[in-house]
């Protein structure tokens, strides 16, 4: 393995600026690794030629002293971000031939910051899934394995391709999106940092929509510092997105102090869900201790409506999705299956173009919005959503951020994933409340299971207070010394 790809983003950035190596060298090393790890199926489309072109341009800018904040850094782009002139599929058959004539705001922001895109990463179809097994381009494999067990594991989802690619070091960082845990859960499963920013922080323009009131883009990286750098590059007000918020973007990296003295951290009792493994509870307790030792004040809090978040989410997200996905009708772009008449064309195109999970969610969404059920399901869910949000508002009167586990389990088997949809949905039970309330939330690796799989800790913060999350997370990152834990375990075995 080339030493260059072992660097994290901030290290590589510093060395590029010092001209220790060029972006072309760095990019070439990642292209090689991307090819070598192809078996993970982390990329849907690889764009090595484009990447090298961009790397050359980056080297010129570095030489000219006009480098952006991510100049020359090779990243993976979740295949949900439209990229001008490059196939963009949302991992669906229905978009298997779609070449966008435009570039999403977030991917453009990254380009403008100098980032080099290696290609489009795999995901659950239309970002609907928690194991990256619903992709029309096949499942993604987690580079992590249980100790002494060669069974394939899922990388989590929906941003499973981004997570696997970063974890396998076939890109230095990747973009991801999070509607109900799709950044944080795969980050937890793959031992990475994943940050879902406040709703409205990153523009949704040009990102294939799943559930508009919940979708938010964010970075997936190796370290907290990397996440801070990449978040700054991705963020910003966009007049093309009416839900984007016009608040200036701080230089997150410069605000990293690693200081949590006096920070009030809430521990919600409701996050101890049924069936949560003791190893997860242990990591959570360790997280509490680390923060306490660094001078934070730990407070028990209650978020009473937590258990209703997941069913609420499974009304709202499918309802919005059923409408957002109506545009895939085989008329203007994407795949078309001809039919006897127009209705037949629609039904065949959509029936054969969407996979089972997407169809299931479109069906639920259509049902909960339909006449006679709208009030009982959709409106009810929106009322519960307000109660869930109010839980957080009340809690944030007392605390500055909240610490919880990211997922109730570690990564599970790729060959025997849960077949029961509700069991699968439970993966995101701890993640969705932050989406419903639009709050920033971050997952970082806290420890390992006894069989050597990563476990994530989640921090949830106040609106637009990503800085507090990053600082608390950095304290945990340092104390946990996750890489140290991994090395130790590998030595021991």
């Amino acid at each position: 393995m080339n030493e260059l790809i072992k660097l994290n983003l901030s290290q590589a950035r510093d060395k590029l600026l010092k001209k220790d190596f060029s972006s072309v060298e760095l990019t070439s090393a990642f292209i090689k690794q991307m090819e070598e790890t192809r078996g993970l199926n982390a990329f849907i489309t690889e764009t090595p030629e484009l990447a090298l072109e961009q790397a050359k341009a980056s080297d010129k800018r570095i030489a000219a002293g006009s480098a952006g904040i991510m100049e020359g850094i090779p990243i993976g782009m979740k295949d949900l971000f439209c990229s001008k002139g490059t196939l963009t599929t949302a991992a669906s058959k229905i978009l298997s031939n779609f070449i966008p004539p435009y570039e999403s705001t977030v991917s453009q922001n990254l380009k403008d910051a100098g980032a080099v895109s290696l290609g489009k990463t795999n995901l659950d179809e239309f970002a609907m899934g928690s194991a990256n097994i619903t992709s029309a381009y096949g499942p993604v494999e987690n580079p992590w394995k249980k100790q002494g067990d060669n069974a394939k594991l899922v990388p989590g989802g929906s941003s499973g391709g981004s997570a696997a690619a970063v974890a396998a070091r076939s890109c230095m960082a990747a973009t991801a999106t999070d509607t109900g845990g799709s950044i944080r859960q795969p980050a937890a499963f793959c031992g990475l940092v994943g940050l879902k920013p406040t709703y409205g922080r990153c523009s949704r323009w040009g990102v294939v929509a799943f559930a508009s009131s919940l979708d938010q883009a964010g970075p997936m990286t190796h370290t907290i510092r990397d996440a801070a750098i990449m978040l700054e590059a991705m963020s910003g007000y966009d007049p093309k997105d009416a839900t984007s918020i016009d608040i200036s973007v701080p230089n997150y990296e410069s605000l990293l102090t690693g200081n949590v003295k006096g920070l009030r951290v809430g521990i919600p009792k409701e996050y101890q869900v049924d069936g949560m493994r003791s190893e997860i509870m242990d990591v959570w307790h360790k997280g509490v201790e680390w923060l306490k030792q660094a001078g934070a004040e730990i407070l028990d809090i209650s978020l009473p409506h937590t258990k209703y978040a997941l069913p609420t989410y499974y009304i709202i997200a499918p309802a919005e999705a059923s409408s957002n996905l109506a545009r895939y009708d085989g008329i203007r772009y994407g795949a078309r299956i001809e039919g006897e008449d127009l209705t037949d064309l629609y039904e065949k195109t959509r029936g054969q173009g969407f996979g089972n999970e997407v169809q299931r969610r479109i069906m639920i969404g259509t049902y909960v919005l339909s006449a006679g059920y709208y009030d009982a399901y959709f409106i009810k869910a929106q009322r519960v959503r307000r109660l869930i949000t109010k839980d957080f508002t009340d809690a944030f009167q007392k605390v500055d951020c909240i610490l919880t586990p990211t997922t109730p389990t570690a990564a599970f088997s790729l060959d025997n994933p849960p077949t029961d949809p509700v069991e699968m949905y439970m993966n995101d039970v701890l993640a969705v409340p932050a989406n419903l309330a639009g709050l920033p939330a971050l997952s970082l690796p806290g420890g390992l299971t006894s069989d050597g799989l990563p476990l994530g800790l989640q921090l949830v913060g106040k609106s637009f207070d990503e800085v507090t999350l990053l600082n608390a997370a950095q304290v945990i990152e340092t104390a946990a010394n996750f890489q140290g834990q991994v090395t130790q375990m590998r030595k021991a075995s």
């Binding site: 009131s213 039919g339 006897e340 127009l342 064309l345 065949k348 009322r383 519960v384 639009g438």
Partner: protein
């Protein structure tokens, strides 16, 4: 909530999804199961609670009335399945 086969057929048609016969029963079962689970929300007292449709409820910014877009018919139809004719999309004839 136990859905019927007819429910499934009706909803599938509303959503314009062709569901082969052999998929109807599995779909009926999984959707019924999901809806059963969702019924959990009936425990929550929402009296007097306003629905919350989105996070950003404050103010919607408005743009100026200026022509800034369009003028690229070829790009609009470039992805059209089956190709475009006269820069237009085509579908099987619709009879009104």
């Amino acid at each position: 909530m136990e859905l019927t086969r007819e429910n499934i057929i009706k909803v599938a048609h509303l959503a314009r999804l062709e569901v082969p016969d052999e998929r109807l029963e599995p779909l009926r079962q999984s959707l019924s199961q999901i809806l059963d689970w969702i019924e959990m929300l009936n425990e929550v007292n929402v009296d007097g609670v306003e629905p919350m449709f989105s996070v950003n409820q404050e103010q919607m910014r408005r743009r100026e009335d200026v022509v800034t877009d369009g003028g690229y018919a070829k790009d609009i139809v470039a992805n059209a399945p089956g190709g475009a004719q006269y820069d237009m999309f085509s579908v099987p004839k619709v009879v009104e």
